[in-house]
C-alpha cells in the first residue's frame, strides 16, 4: 500500500498555497536493474485536489516527474480550517487519498 502524503495548505490574504509531497518511486521505464533488465515504468498519472467537493487543481504526470513528487499551486476561496482532499492514481491503478487542513 502506498505511504501517506505530506500536505501543507496555508491561507494568506485570501490565497491558499497548497504544497504536497507524494511518496512514489516514479520509475521512468528507462532504467536498467543490476542484471541489465529494463525496470518497467511505474508512475503517478493523475492527481486531483478538491476543496469542498470542488476540483481546484488537477495534474497529469508523465514518467519524468521526480521520485517522491512535489506539487504546489495557489487558489482563492478557502478559509483557515477548511479541508483539502488530495487523490492520486498511478499506472498500476494503485491510489492514495489524504486530507490536509488549511492553516
Amino acid at each position: 500500500m502506498a505511504d501517506p502524503m505530506r500536505i501543507r495548505a496555508a491561507e494568506k490574504a485570501g490565497v491558499t498555497e497548497v504544497k504536497v509531497l507524494m511518496s512514489h518511486e516514479m520509475e521512468t521505464g528507462q532504467r536498467k536493474d543490476g542484471a541489465g533488465k529494463i525496470v518497467p515504468a511505474w508512475f503517478i498519472q493523475n492527481v486531483s485536489f478538491k476543496h469542498k467537493d470542488k476540483e481546484v487543481f488537477t495534474a497529469q504526470f508523465g514518467t519524468s516527474i521526480s521520485k517522491n513528487p512535489l506539487l504546489s499551486f495557489r487558489f482563492k476561496g478557502a478559509a483557515k480550517g477548511d479541508k483539502i482532499v488530495v487523490n492520486w492514481v498511478d499506472n498500476h491503478g494503485d491510489k492514495r487519498q489524504d486530507e490536509g487542513t488549511v492553516i
Binding site: D3, P4, M5, R6, L21, E25, V39, S66, K67, L70
Partner: protein, 271 residues
C-alpha cells in the same frame, strides 16, 4: 594608545578569519548552483520518511510483537527527543560504544526478538525496496532538530573510539592511496561542483555532521551516516565495511565529537 588600537585591529582581523565560514562561501553569488539549492530548500521528501519512521517506531513488530517505544537510545527508555545529538555513546548494557543504527539493531534484537541478521537485513534502500532503518533514522534524528550536538567523551571506551576514528580518518590505503583527509582535509575544496566540508576545521565539521542523514536527490532516498561513510569507503576504493561495524562507529564518534556545539538540522536535503 597606538599599540592598543593595533591590538584591537589584529584581534578583529583574527575574529574575521575565524568567522569566515566556508559553508557561506558555498552559497555566495558566484556559486552557479545557489539558485538550484535555494529552490529545493523547504520541501524535503525526507519528511515522508520521517512520517513513515514514526509509524514504524510505534508499530508492534518482530517475534515478540512489540514496538520500539521502550528502546533506550541513551537518554532513557523510549526517549526519542534529543537522543541523536548525544550519540554515539557508551552503553552499559552492551558494553559498547554505539551509534544510532547500531543501537537500533540492539533494540530490535533485545526488545522485538529479531535475530541480528534480520535487524541488519536492509540497511540501505534501493528502488522499490525501502529500508526500515532509513525511515527510523529519519524519524529519530528529526526529533533532535534545533538542539546542540553534545556527544559525550568521558567513558574510556568513548575516548578510545574517538582516537581510533581519528586514525582511520587519516589512514591512506587502497589503489587510489586515499584517506578521508584526501577530500576532507583542506578548506574550500570541491569535487566537480560539490563543496567538500573540511572536516579538520570545526566550522565545517559542525555544519557537515549536523546535516546528516539527508535526502539525496541523486538517489531519491534518505541516507544515513552509515551509508555516507560506506559510500566514502567505496569511493576510496576500499572494500566494504560491515553495517554498524566498530570502524564506522569509531569514525562516527570522531566526526560527531568534532561537531560539538553545532545546531543539529537534519534530515537535510542534499545533491
Amino acid at each position: 594608545m597606538k599599540k592598543t588600537k593595533k591590538l584591537i585591529l589584529m584581534a578583529s582581523v583574527l575574529a574575521a578569519v575565524c568567522a569566515a565560514n566556508p559553508a557561506l562561501a558555498q552559497q555566495g553569488k558566484d556559486d552557479p548552483l545557489t539558485k538550484y539549492r535555494d529552490m529545493l530548500a523547504g520541501d524535503n521528501p525526507a519528511e515522508l520518511s520521517e512520517m513513515k519512521g514514526e509509524a514504524l517506531w510505534k508499530t508492534a513488530r518482530g517475534p515478540n510483537k512489540v514496538s520500539l517505544e521502550k528502546c533506550d537510545l541513551g537518554v532513557g527508555a523510549g526517549v526519542v527527543a534529543g537522543a541523536y545529538v548525544k550519540l554515539p555513546r557508551y552503553f552499559e548494557d552492551t558494553k559498547m560504544v554505539q551509534d544510532l543504527e547500531s543501537r537500533l539493531v540492539t533494540c530490535m534484537v533485545m526488545l522485538q526478538g529479531m535475530t541480528p541478521a534480520e535487524a541488519r537485513k536492509n540497511p540501505f534502500s534501493s528502488p522499490g525496496k525501502p529500508s526500515d532503518m532509513e525511515a527510523l533514522a529519519s524519524y529519530i534524528t528529526s526529533q533532535s532538530r534545533g538542539l546542540k550536538m553534545a556527544t559525550p567523551l568521558s567513558h574510556p571506551k568513548e575516548k578510545e573510539a574517538y582516537a581510533i576514528g581519528k586514525q582511520i580518518f587519516y589512514y591512506r590505503a587502497g589503489p587510489y592511496d586515499f584517506s578521508c583527509a584526501t577530500c576532507h582535509g583542506a578548506p574550500d575544496k570541491r569535487i566537480r561542483l560539490q563543496y567538500l566540508p573540511d572536516l579538520t576545521n570545526p566550522k565545517d565539521a559542525r555544519e557537515a555532521y549536523a546535516t546528516w542523514p539527508a535526502y539525496r536527490v541523486s538517489q531519491g532516498e534518505v541516507r544515513t551516516m552509515q551509508h555516507r561513510l560506506n559510500d566514502c569507503f567505496r569511493q576510496q576504493r576500499l572494500h566494504e565495511h560491515l553495517y554498524t561495524s566498530d570502524a564506522i562507529t569509531a569514525l562516527t564518534m570522531f566526526l560527531a565529537r568534532n561537531a560539538e556545539g553545532a545546531t543539529y538540522n537534519a534530515p537535510a536535503l542534499k545533491r
